[in-house]
């Protein structure tokens, strides 16, 4: 049994008659899979009310295998209320972490990254419209940080192999898991990014709309091989029917 650990639920799905299987991101533990017994029975309605995504929780658990058993789950504050695009972004982040972060790999940084992002999201949605630009900035920062933490950080100063510095005025192609390669402007691939933009991304200078757009392109290309053939479902939520 562990002491109470701060955590957030990323995903929940029903298990047996009244139990839930929850995936959480927990401080110092990274991503965990747990069984939460009796969470959906009417007698224990207190856990069913709080075992929701975006609710700060305190968890204690036991078990050594892949699937652990939650012993207690308590709320440690009001839920982060997200709406519209910000809510869909929350689902997007949860999906990325569940798909990319390996189970049971300890990381303080992941929990830190997740909680700051949720805070930032809920604060940014209070800003007057249009706040979509700030939302995109938050998501891109998160994606690049996550890539770095997973060991797939992008080197924005040198080309692949580390021979040449990235120069403004040139065009580069990003090859996932390798790096930037000098490319001709006429190359029609999707991942062509200008040298200025790459340097801008390296400095996280995302307030510039042009650099932000390039960053989105770069993040997509870099994430694609890690996600395998299955695209992220939460992207569909941003598209209106």
């Amino acid at each position: 049994m562990t002491a109470q650990v701060p955590c957030f639920i990323l995903h929940r799905r029903p298990f047996r008659e009244t139990s839930l299987i929850i995936e959480v991101v927990a401080q110092g533990y990274g991503r965990l899979n747990l069984v939460l017994k009796g969470a959906q029975s009417s007698k224990k309605s207190t856990t069913s009310g709080i075992s929701q995504v975006f609710c700060p929780l305190l968890l204690s658990f036991s078990g050594a295998g892949e699937l652990k058993t939650a012993l207690s789950l308590e709320s440690s504050g009001p839920p982060v209320v997200l709406q519209d695009k910000f809510l869909y972004s929350g689902f997007y982040i949860n999906e990325i972490i569940c798909r990319l972060w390996p189970q049971n790999v300890d990381s303080d940084e992941l929990f830190e990254l997740y909680t700051t992002l949720l805070d930032d999201l809920s604060q940014t949605q209070q800003l007057p419209q249009p706040n979509a630009h700030f939302l995109e900035m938050l998501l891109r920062r998160f994606e690049f940080n996550l890539l770095r933490m997973l060991g797939f950080g992008i080197d924005c100063s040198y080309t692949f192999g580390g021979n040449e510095a990235i120069e403004a005025g040139q065009f580069y192609r990003y090859i996932p898991e390798e790096g930037f390669v000098l490319s001709h402007k006429s190359y029609s691939g999707q991942a062509l990014i200008s040298g200025e933009d790459i340097v801008g991304i390296g400095q996280m200078n995302l307030t510039n709309p042009k650099i932000l757009k390039a960053a989105k392109k770069l993040a997509r290309v870099a994430l694609a091989p890690l996600l395998g053939g299955k695209p992220l479902k939460s992207r569909e939520l941003f598209v209106n029917l």
Binding site: D84, E95, L241
Partner: protein, 199 residues
């Protein structure tokens, strides 16, 4: 010991039901074979009939063997201009039992949950959009579950309604009748307070 092929097959098939493990499956199989052959035959027949004939209602997506379910076929309900969006057919029954609602339903058969691979198309929101255009719906009542996923689904549909100038409302959530405040969790109480009514 091994059972004869037909008996093992029966036990295996029964194991496919939710909440039925190997032991219960065995008990069910023996009960049917030993004491209740007739019921067993009836079960088999109705299973085959249902599996072959039951489909989804063209309008509300609930289970029915007809093209339109009896609720969608009722002219009185169509005329009411109300449409209630729920997650499962069981929710339709629950609401029908209250006798308070006399409009049409739309059954999503789930909620938006990207991690389970369920997006807007999987819960039939394209069908719903067409319904909203074709029928004379004045108000859409969003009765998805009060979970974060249910809320996301409700918001998504509300946005769809707004584009078509249709009112969308969300059912209230709060303290259950006969419950005690002391035992209600904080989130539910917060909802109950923010959704309070002047009496």
């Amino acid at each position: 010991m091994k059972f004869s092929p037909l008996v093992s097959e029966l036990i295996d098939s029964l194991k496919g039901l939710p909440g039925v493990g190997p032991k219960s499956a065995q008990r069910m199989a023996f009960q049917l074979l030993e004491r209740n052959r007739q019921k067993g035959v009836r079960l088999g027949e109705s299973l085959i009939k249902a599996m072959e004939k039951v489909g989804h209602c063209r309008c509300c997506r609930t289970y029915t063997e007809d093209d339109l379910c009896h609720l969608c076929a009722s002219p009185k309900r169509v005329g009411s201009g109300l449409l209630c969006v729920v997650e499962t057919p069981a929710d339709v029954i629950a609401i029908e039992q209250t006798g308070q609602f006399t409009g049409l339903y739309f059954v999503l058969m789930g909620h938006l949950s990207p991690l389970d691979g369920i997006g807007p198309l999987e819960i039939g929101l394209d069908v719903l959009k067409k319904n909203l255009q074709d029928n004379q719906v004045k108000e859409v009542i969003l009765a998805t579950n009060p979970t974060m996923e249910g809320d996301a689904t409700a918001h998504y549909i509300a946005k769809m309604c707004k584009q078509q100038d249709i009112d969308a409302s969300r059912i209230a959530h709060g303290v259950p009748v006969g419950g005690e405040l002391e035992f209600v969790d904080g989130t539910t109480l917060t909802h109950a307070f923010s959704g309070r009514k002047i009496i």
